[in-house]
């Protein structure tokens, strides 16, 4: 009978460890899935939920507009000393002075130029995300060329619709004696030009994703193919439009060499900003966070605070230098009495509100990224809706701070992705398989 009498079940150490382990795993899963938040440190509030009050989708989305717009950030820089305003200018670099992490690319461009001079077939595409330093790289390359060879620097400033517009633009660019009748005539005239370097920026403006929208980019690629023995074509293109062209037109076969200007690493980003900061000669102090108790430890010296700031900055900008500069300016303050700069902590930004966007908004953002920018008519032609609906949708996204509007010459303004939201929006769209 003794063996038939069983002990009562009771919890022992094994059960305890098992339960605690299960609870920890569950907590991690809940946190990763976004069902429960364990108080992420958010110093600049982007998607902060208001207490526990249930909020509607639109109200959640409006949280995105808590982050200042690029214009507001630029307005803040008025309080900075003039030298800082000049050093932390948003835009491409004019020369090599502040170029960081692009030395290899510059060397490749020099090498390819020499190859072309030796009569080898060359055409170069500089491809990278917006703000990754394509134009800066080209500027440095052009400044090195000097007067060695004629350089035609051309910028496609509006979207071309069809072969005829491209022919017209080319005849203006190259100051051709007679307007070419067709593409073959244009190719013939280009072959007559003396050897030169042709730098063309923003070739993403040659593509529009609608029926007939591939005509101008096809015509342009035909020109490159026909004349690349005589002319060294150097084009710049944003990453996502290039990927789109690759899928649709196998664009890489028209360019013998591609330089991928990837987004910077955390070290490159820090070096680039610290170089400018040191050049300003103003002392800078990285501040501690006032809210988080965990950060109030006395052991945090300037190096640790600086390291933490750049880690947060890298996470927020995903390595995009343009976005990083905006965040940097957002956190930068000037103390007139001490004549020094202070850098407020950035913290982890919460972009969870982005998940509340609907399908139409997601696809709109994806197409804007994949085209570089769109106007309302272009959006309407891609999504087969009327211009008014397109404009309303785009304006709503501008109000949410996700897009920025740039007014155009003939009233047709362009909508672009707000650089501050580059990282979270691209990550969200890639995660949803929308951005390919």
């Amino acid at each position: 009978m003794a063996d038939s009498i069983r002990k009562k079940p009771r919890f022992n150490l094994f059960h305890g460890v098992l339960l605690i382990s299960l609870a920890i795993h569950l907590a991690i899963l809940l946190h990763v899935s976004g069902l429960v938040s364990f108080g992420a440190l958010t110093y600049i509030e982007v998607g902060m939920k208001e207490n526990s009050r249930p909020v509607g989708r639109e109200e959640t989305l409006q949280n995105l507009s808590n982050l200042p717009t690029p214009e507001e950030i630029m307005a803040r820089t008025a309080t900075l000393p003039p030298v800082c305003r000049r050093l932390f200018t948003i835009g491409a670099l004019k020369n090599r002075e502040f170029l960081v992490g692009k030395e290899d690319h510059l060397e490749s461009l020099r090498e390819l130029f020499h190859r072309w001079q030796e009569g080898r077939l060359c055409s170069i595409a500089v491809v990278g995300p917006n703000g990754s330093g394509k134009t800066s790289l080209i500027n440095c390359f052009q400044s090195e060329l000097g007067n060695q060879i004629p350089v035609h620097r051309l910028d496609i400033d509006h979207r071309l619709r069809g072969e005829s517009q491209l022919i017209e633009l080319c005849s203006q660019w190259f100051e051709l004696s007679s307007v070419p009748k067709n593409l073959i005539d244009l190719e013939e005239q280009l072959r007559q030009l003396p050897p030169a370097v042709i730098i063309i920026e923003n070739i993403h403006r040659l593509l529009l994703r609608n029926t007939g929208g591939l005509e101008s980019i096809r015509a342009f690629l035909g020109l490159v193919l026909a004349s690349r023995r005589r002319l060294l074509w150097v084009v710049t293109c944003r990453k996502y439009p290039w990927q789109r062209m690759q899928y649709l037109l196998q664009v890489d076969r028209y360019f013998s060499h591609q330089l991928q200007t990837l987004l910077g690493t955390q070290t490159e980003m820090r070096d680039a900003l610290m170089l400018r900061l040191q050049t300003s000669s103003y002392p800078a102090k990285f501040l501690q966070n006032d809210h988080g108790k965990a950060m109030k430890k006395n052991g945090l010296d300037q190096n640790a605070l600086q390291e933490r700031f750049f880690s947060d900055l890298f996470a927020a900008s995903r390595g995009n230098m343009q976005a990083a500069l905006y965040y940097w300016l957002l956190c930068l303050d000037y103390d007139k009495t001490l004549e020094s700069l202070t850098v407020r902590p950035l913290g982890k930004l919460d972009y969870s509100s982005l998940r509340s966007l609907d399908r139409q908004q997601f696809y709109t953002l994806a197409e804007i990224i994949a085209h570089g920018e769109l106007n309302a008519d272009e959006h309407a032609s891609i999504f087969a809706c009327d211009s008014l609906r397109s404009r309303m949708l785009l304006d709503h996204l501008v109000q949410l701070n996700l897009l920025v509007f740039e007014s155009g010459d003939n009233g047709a303004g362009r909508y672009q992705l707000n650089p501050l939201f580059f990282a979270p929006v691209t990550a969200t769209l890639e995660g949803r398989n929308i951005l390919q």
Partner: protein, 281 residues
């Protein structure tokens, strides 16, 4: 021989089914149900957050649910109640016999359900066609499989039926699947420009998966008159949008044909059961 004798019922109840053991067993069942509910919510949230891996995450739940239930029942049986071996054998044999005779269909469905879970001919989230029904698998249970059709109705199939019938899986665990769009035009319409236009219409749709090839095929047909059948094959990047893609491609084709002054596919025939969109003149 003494070991094979069953203990008297009052002794068995007192020793193995006492109040506290039953209470703990009940508690474990409640915890299992609550845990599964929570797990489902977590997996749903994870699937929504990491859409690219949605099918993988959703597909985990039926297997995890089965394993969790097996673990819970085994724990209650072997740790909490812990009956003697002879009792366990006697009860399981008689229960097996009773269930086998009285609930053959149920047992067949459960066995089929276990086979489906481990053979994995389809996962939760896949688009499958069983008989006349086509839709997204929303649940794989031990007894039945449920799909949600595009008409938003949930169709339930007993597992045994699914196991014995031919099941067509459109995406086989991937997030993209092929969508076929067909349209007819009069035979005299020039094929080359229409073929190019059809390709562009598919390539320009925001819902198409550009990483996969797009093809346009031509066939001759006769239906009171000579016709050319155009078949566009493209992949949708998110299986839930397959009808949206098909509709979008056809809309673009029609618009482009109109713009170029070519005849537009008009009239319609009843929609086919398969996942194609077809219009003929």
């Amino acid at each position: 021989m003494k070991d094979l004798q069953l203990p008297p019922l009052p002794d068995f109840v007192r020793q193995h089914l006492s109040g506290d053991r039953l209470l703990i067993s009940l508690l474990i069942i409640v915890l299992t149900v609550a845990g599964l509910w929570l797990l489902r919510r977590v997996l749903n949230a994870l699937a929504a957050r990491f859409s690219r891996h949605r099918l993988l995450i959703s597909g985990l739940f039926p297997v995890l649910r089965l394993l969790i239930w097996i673990s819970a029942v085994a724990y209650i049986l072997f740790v909490i109640i812990h009956p003697p071996l002879n009792t366990l054998l006697a009860v399981s044999a008689s229960a097996g016999l009773a269930l086998g005779l009285g609930a053959q269909d149920l047992i067949r469905n459960i066995v089929a359900g276990i086979l489906i879970l481990f053979e994995r001919p389809f996962h939760v989230g896949d688009m499958i066609q069983v008989g006349e029904h086509y839709g997204e698998v929303v649940n794989i249970g031990l007894r039945s499989v449920q799909i949600r059709t595009f008409e938003d109705s949930v169709v339930t199939f007993p597992n045994a039926l699914v196991q014995t019938q031919a099941v067509s899986n459109a995406n086989a665990g991937q997030l993209n699947e092929m969508v076929v769009v067909r349209f007819h035009l009069p035979a005299e319409v020039p094929v080359g420009p229409v073929k190019e236009l059809a390709w562009e219409a598919a390539a320009c749709s925001p819902y198409v998966h550009l990483g996969k090839p797009i093809s346009v095929l031509i066939e001759d047909r006769f239906d009171y008159r000579f016709l050319t059948l155009f078949t566009i094959k493209a992949y949708v990047h998110e299986i839930r949008l397959e009808r949206v893609l098909a509709s979008d491609i056809l809309e673009r084709v029609k618009r482009a044909l109109l713009e170029q002054g070519l005849p537009v596919p008009a009239g319609s025939q009843p929609p086919p059961l398969e996942k194609t969109l077809c219009v003929n003149p």
